[in-house]
């Protein structure tokens, strides 16, 4: 997929674990894992907002566009 989720990088920088982040964001750890591994097909703005709020980052820090060509 052209959009890559660099959530694990930001989580490592903020030293936060998956389970803790999931609880603070308000989604299940399973869903967060789906997002982290790049298997998600879509993301709600509310989820993105919550993640950015917890990790104190910008959407561009966790979502990166890579040209497949």
């Amino acid at each position: 997929m052209a959009i890559q989720v660099e959530l694990d990088v930001m989580m490592a920088r903020r030293k936060i674990k998956l389970q803790e982040l999931a609880e603070k964001v308000g989604i299940t750890a399973q869903n967060l894992s789906v997002l982290k591994t790049g298997k998600a097909k879509a993301m709600r703005f509310s989820t993105l907002e919550a993640i950015c709020k917890v990790l104190e980052c910008q959407p561009g820090d966790i979502l990166i566009y890579i040209n497949d060509e």
Binding site: I27, N31, L32, V34, L35, K39, A40, K41, A42, M43, R44, T47
Partner: protein, 82 residues
């Protein structure tokens, strides 16, 4: 998987309507006239309400299978929306 099976079942109803039932009619009429005098054997092909019933059932089942398949795709997509 289930949706595909139902779709195949629908197509089987179509086959029944267009092939199986007319074939049965042909064999039945020929068998009934088997002991007639030579030159007086008959075969008959007919398309009656019974065939239309199979056709209608097949169509309904195929529509249901399509709806099931679309529902499955929507659910699969929804599951991957975080």
């Amino acid at each position: 998987m289930n949706a595909q099976s139902y779709q195949k079942l629908g197509y089987l109803f179509f086959l029944d309507s267009f092939i199986a039932k007319p074939l049965c009619d042909i064999i039945l009429t020929f068998a009934a006239s088997l002991y007639n005098a030579p030159g007086h054997h008959y075969i008959a092909i007919s398309f009656t309400m019974i065939n239309l019933e199979s056709l209608f059932c097949g169509a309904i089942i195929i529509v249901i299978a399509k709806v099931m398949y679309i529902g499955y795709k929507l659910q699969e997509e929804q599951q991957l929306v975080i």
